[in-house]
Symmetry: C2
Subunit: 314 residues, 2 copies
């Protein structure tokens, strides 16, 4: 059993109203893998970097149980680079630079040992690359989660819809859900998107939390209100990593596990944004995670006893 | 024991991208009183109207157990009128007209039987009027809740701060919390506002739910994602009415009751916005409220057992 993670491994330069960092460790697959390993140690990474990405970071990942056989290293080339600037509200950002570098002609090759992965997390990438990964699998995974973004809706909608028809769960933000569905109401948007393939939909609303849609049920995981948000970069990927890491550990994707996974993912994301880059995640202790989960319980727990079916909540 | 409600009783004209209504029943105290009566029937209303406000609506209120002795009716004058237009996202609105009419020289006079009210809800009004109400009370209420808005922060901050120093709980929206405190982080904003007088702070975030701050604790009540929002007018007041109505009924303001009150208020608000004006609230059944509360339980319930102290949750 393993968790296959596909996505970017990159450098980021990040400016916020409160500080900035240059060429730090970033990339969707980096955040996803790190977050997942707190729950599940058999992660198999597929990505591409240049020989400029620090070898110590690769060792770090390996030490966390991440198999990097599928991480292609291109000699003499540069890793994917993103530069962004957050606005005063920390909720919106402008991209200042996107240098694809090694990503421009990335062809994901799955090592033999990856091809029967039971859990698959497709980080945000060209839909065609996501498809290429799915095509190489020799057994249908128990759960395929896909992340994407508005850019692919603008330039590659047919491919995006093809991937969508093959996955179990889609994670996107609220604006993207509206764009993909053409519906303003998130309930209507979710109903439309669930008809495109996935059985589950997670709509991420940043500081306003995240919604899980499944059949006629909706579950809401709030974001924890924080004293300071230092750097929102990677929050969505950290959420996804905690989410699928918890499910892989449980090896159970029933709705009640999905709900719990939403909280585990949200807890990881709330920790991630308290420092730049992966600084907080890379030094996290088990106790810090338990404390944070506890804060989520306190934030949401109330006791109204109605005709709610407690069997629902095994 | 009684619940004193002070606020506007008015006419509204409302435009949304999906429809419009002209000169319908509105006003903060109308929404608050109606919502409160589903939990608690001894409501005492203080407000002012012209003789154009429909007498049948006054009878309606009385039939719900609302004492209207404190409702001044000015012969030959017009009731307060507000006209607004919601933008496409239904989250922001523009005020097209505000005709103060009878509100221009409103002096709230508390009938003798109102002066020992145990629960007091100060709807959004000039801070000086809110103060005048508090001055007439002959016994300190168990709970004074105050609503206000950014306009009073712009034009009457000293009076606003004076009222604030005398109340137990303030309800405002997120932008107003930032304006009042000068802090962007809602956690920091709450800490600053709790030093201005109130023991409790509710920050309303519209479709993104509401936060309750008390000492070092935060509780979050989500908004229920809805298929269609028809008219957000009065949602905040309906929340406040359900909130304080539930507390008055329980006659218990401990934190656990406050948390439950947040959910009761949110349930009432979610019902309110499904129709224009008070249409839904005025025809609501007990079963509809129970069903809605049940939806809130389903929306938020998950079972992670950690070291959360269950005594917290009496």
């Amino acid at each position: 059993m393993s968790l296959l993670v596909v996505g970017t491994v990159a450098f980021d330069s990040i400016k916020t109203p409160f500080g900035s960092v240059e060429k730090v460790i970033g990339g969707a697959a980096t955040y996803i893998s790190w977050a997942a390993t707190f729950y599940y140690r058999n992660v198999k990474l597929v990505s591409v970097i240049g020989d400029d990405w620090p070898e110590t970071e690769i060792h770090h990942l390996r030490a966390r149980g991440v198999d990097t056989e599928g991480l292609q290293i291109r000699k003499g080339q540069k890793s994917f680079f993103w530069e962004g600037k957050y606005n005063n509200d920390m909720n919106s950002r402008d991209t200042l630079a996107t240098d694809l570098n090694v990503l421009a002609d990335f062809d994901p090759i799955l090592p033999e040992s990856y091809k029967k992965s039971r859990y698959v997390m497709l980080g945000n990438l060209t839909p065609d690359i996501q498809l290429r990964v799915l095509e190489q699998l020799t057994a249908r995974p128990k759960l395929i989660v896909m992340d994407t973004m508005n850019y692919w809706m603008d330039v590659a909608m047919p491919s995006l819809k093809k991937v969508l028809s093959k996955v179990d769960l889609l994670t996107i933000n609220d604006d993207e859900a509206r764009q993909l569905s053409g519906e303003h109401s998130l309930v209507k948007a979710a109903n439309a998107i669930l008809k495109m393939g996935p059985s589950y939909l997670v709509i991420k609303k940043g500081e306003h939390g995240a919604l899980l849609f499944y059949r006629n049920s909706i579950f809401f995981a709030p974001a924890l209100p924080l004293q300071d948000v230092v750097d929102p970069t990677g929050a969505g990927d950290t959420f996804a990593g905690g989410f699928i890491g918890y499910l892989a550990q449980s090896d159970n994707i029933q709705y009640n596990y999905m709900k719990r996974a939403m909280i585990y993912g949200s807890a990881m994301a709330s920790l991630c944004v308290e420092e730049f880059s992966l600084q907080k995640i890379q030094t996290l202790t088990h106790d810090e995670i338990v404390d944070r989960l506890n804060e989520f319980v306190k934030l949401t727990k109330f006791n109204i006893k109605l005709n709610y079916d407690s069997n629902d909540d095994e």
